[in-house]
């Protein structure tokens, strides 16, 4: 197996008296989809916010590409190549796809925006993800469907030679066909060599697209296992009780 692109060891985070993350370990491999599952309040959001630099963990070691790194803010995470696609998509309805993909990081020629360069780069990125659903990349985001919006948000995340992309419930609000499209896109991100963290509540989605599954239970990592070593029932047990017969407890190796 390849070396993990991102590796967390013994991450702890408390908010006042509430101990949200307890000695969490997590490995994300390039070219793989790592599904992060867990019930509400298990600490999924807190964990990804620590990775993205929005929260600073109290204790714990981050290794990125084999080197120990210190992520103290969102800019550090972005500089390393870690991008988050949020559940509420953070797109501007009134701007077109190109504008959204480059928002805050516009390509400029002197003081002037370089629209041609941005449009070419945006199209190249969408092509590399084999996005076929978008008619014109100059249409406003307001005219896009939920699945297309998710596509744009994901394309925005991979535009910057990112190495790790975190997707926060990308299919939560989508219909069947659109969910399929987005899951295909998630798979393609990994096939293009990125490390993908997929947060999902939907066990079917997880089994369709993930390579390995990390289950959080009340702030501890119940297990991180390869998908083909478990069956959905075991994953549900891990989520609801924190343990399952036949699954090795994480970190007990």
């Amino acid at each position: 197996m390849t070396e993990p692109i991102l590796s967390l060891r013994g991450v702890n985070k408390s908010f006042g008296p509430v101990h949200v993350l307890k000695d969490v370990n997590l490995d994300v491999h390039p070219g793989q989809v790592t599904a992060l599952v867990g019930d509400n309040g298990a600490g999924k959001s807190t964990l990804i916010k620590c990775i993205a630099g929005i929260y600073t963990p109290d204790r714990g070691e981050f290794k990125f590409d084999g080197k120990v790194v210190n992520i103290t803010g969102p800019r550090d995470a972005t500089a390393l190549g870690i991008e988050i696609v949020y559940q509420d998509l953070a797109l501007c309805d009134n701007l077109d796809i190109v504008h959204n993909m480059f928002l805050g990081r516009e390509v400029k020629k002197g003081p002037v925006l370089d629209e041609s360069a941005m449009e070419s780069l945006a199209r190249k990125t969408l092509d590399s993800l084999s996005v076929r659903t978008v008619k014109s990349i100059r249409q406003t985001v307001a005219s896009l469907s939920g699945g297309q919006r998710q596509t744009v948000a994901i394309a925005k995340a991979v535009l910057w030679n990112s190495k790790v992309v975190i997707l926060d419930e990308p299919t939560a609000a989508l219909g069947v066909a659109q969910t399929e499209q987005v899951l295909n896109l998630v798979r393609r991100l990994a096939d293009n060599g990125l490390g993908v963290i997929l947060i999902s509540h939907n066990i079917n989605d997880v089994f369709e697209v993930a390579d390995n599954i990390a289950a959080l239970y009340l702030g501890t990592m119940a297990a991180q296992v390869a998908k083909n070593e478990v069956i959905p029932r075991q994953v549900i047990e891990l989520i609801t009780t924190g343990a399952s017969a036949g699954v090795e407890k994480a970190g007990v190796k």
């Binding site: 953070a90 928002l103 092509d127």
Partner: protein, 408 residues
Amino acid sequence: MSTSTVEVPEATLKSAAHDYWSKVKAGDIGALPAVLGLLVLCIVFGSMSSVFLTPGNFANLLTQAASVIVIAMGLIFVLLLGEIDLSAGYASGVCGAVLVILITDQGQPWYIALVASIAVGMAMGFGLGTLVARLGIPSFVVTLAAFLGFQGILLILAGEGGTIRVEDETVLAIQNSNLSPTLSWAFYVAASVFYVLLGLSRINARRKAGLKAELFKLWLIKTISLVGVSGLAVFALNLERSNNRELVSLKGIPYVVPVILFLLVIGTFVLGRTAFGRHIYAVGGNAEAARRAGINVKNIRIAAFVICSGLSAIAGLLFASRQNSISPTTGGSSTLLYAVGAAVIGGTSLFGGKGKMRDAILGGLVVAVIDNGMGLLGYAAGIKFIVTGAVLLVSAGVDAVSRRGSAV
């Protein structure tokens, strides 16, 4: 893997019409309604009044509309954020008073007075913007308070006499004098060449980059009609429009027209071609998304209010020039409402995120034509206000409905 998936279809007039319709459905109706409205109004008033379509009235209309257009230009920056500045009218009055006092009472040259009055305007905008962005007071309340406050300042500045006259020739010339007919044509040719080259270079750059360019035929139609109509306008303005030809000759483009076109070019450039402009649209569209993209939302808000009040100061200059003085009602009564109306009628959304600099000019002309035309037809001020209000309501209604149509 890298098959071209986002296709570049050959553009045709039909596909352009289709693109326009999908834009309309997405809530962007563009300039067409305002242009058609303007045309209809001109035909109606032209057929009902023998004076309306004369060169004299045309020039008069432009100078009447000028201050409202400039205030509307500033307001568009604020409206794009989904905010409002109710104090912009009296801000122009206060800045105009500062200008006139510096010239008449202090004996300063006009340029120093102008820079000072713009600085005062920007400082007022900075105050408003800071209260809105940093303290989080709704802009409606902040600027309503400022509306009263600025009115009070203007009253104090105007003092006992009530009006301060201005006799500086440059200030008076802006709204009262014209380019000579030769200079008018030279200006027209230069502006047209600039516009055509700009359009051609944009199409060329996009073609070179292998991107879908605007349909050349459509661009040609738009450009020819715009250049043609403005050519007619210059021709009309170059006709003698003095009632007493022996005493005084009146012909050529009023100086205020190049001033407004200059502001239009700068404003369009800032909004459309710079990162700052893009960020204004982004904050108006989705402030949270803008924040997550690393944009300093508070600074953008403050900057918009600074620009708005700064442009109000220029409108103050135009008021002073047209009225030859500043009075306690300068920038008051219906000024601000006309300016908001102009922006909205031109196509700027009150909900933020949608609007262009040119909206101020189109809408400002619509408002001025209604005001001017109905005045010529002898309607009372009351009827004019009711009609203008109704037009504003219809525009805001179209804005709201088109927005609902695009909501997901």
